[in-house]
Amino acid sequence: MTISLSRIIMTLATASMGESRREWAMAMEAEFAAAAADDAQFRFATGCLIAAWRDMLRVEEGRFMLTSYALALGLILPMAALQVGCALFGLPYLYPGGGGLAGALLEGRAHEHLLRNLYQAAILPLALLQLLIGFGHVRVAWGMLERDWAGVTRTGTAILAGAVTLILFMSIFFLDSRQALLLGSIVGVELAIIAILARWHARLPIGIGQPG
């Protein structure tokens, strides 16, 4: 087994330890060299990774980290992909009738020649807004994992403002803002969950588990 694979496993193990276990992570890292001198680095690194993951479930900070990753990977990033997919690839979601962007531009409709110019002017900024909401979700997921709560709050507020704008314009243009309302509701739920997560992070005891 190559030393580089063991090194990657060791890095993953120390990264999984969390702030309160930082000194233990450094302790494992320091012993890695001794294990490598005995050609036992792979077994040592794998054991450290198992210890780190088991410890994550045991301590509150570890459970917090797992929850953050589950929220980012299970909710925020799929929402980002959905928004970007709708804006760039014209997925049917958001626009009434399931026609996507083409449907929103009234292509092939009887009243296309009357309203097309107006819709062309309005739909593209709305699609751009939806794209920004999608990228905003990526920024929120990143900030959440970095525990940059000020940045997450700023971006989350901007996303909410964008969602409200979408709801208003969808109501005006299509007289149907159900999908935009759904989007706005999901954004609201996301921000509420993130606020709970930020409060949890603020309550986390600092220094628990550090060796004396």
């Binding site: 233990w24 302790a27 320091a30 012993e31 001794a34 088991r54 588990g209 060796p211 004396g212």
Partner: protein, 100 residues
């Protein structure tokens, strides 16, 4: 800190090794080799024993130059007391080891 539960088999093993030389600081990898424990077992055990006040840890300068400092461990007085509580533990006074 008082401890009600009986130590696990691995903890007993570690108590035996560390109490063998009370004042000697031991490195994690050396303990692994001597106890025959995997790092995935040893480190959670050391973390738990440190939290329970049985083991103290300290950064020690390396013997070989150019190497990073290493974490070293030894029993606290409470850890030594727990090691001595157990039946069958060799009397440290008979081997010349004095309790500090």
């Amino acid at each position: 800190m008082s401890r009600k539960r009986q130590p696990s088999k691995q903890m007993r093993l570690l108590l035996d090794i560390l109490s063998g030389a009370r004042d000697q600081w031991r490195h994690g990898y050396d303990l692994m080799k001597e106890a025959g424990l995997a790092s995935g077992t040893l480190y959670p055990l050391l973390m738990r024993m440190t939290e329970q006040g049985l083991v103290e840890a300290e950064w020690r300068e390396p013997v070989q130059p150019g190497r990073p400092p290493r974490h070293a461990y030894r029993l606290t007085a409470a850890g030594m007391a727990l090691a001595l509580e157990r039946p069958g533990h060799p009397d440290p006074f008979s081997s010349g080891e004095a309790l500090a």
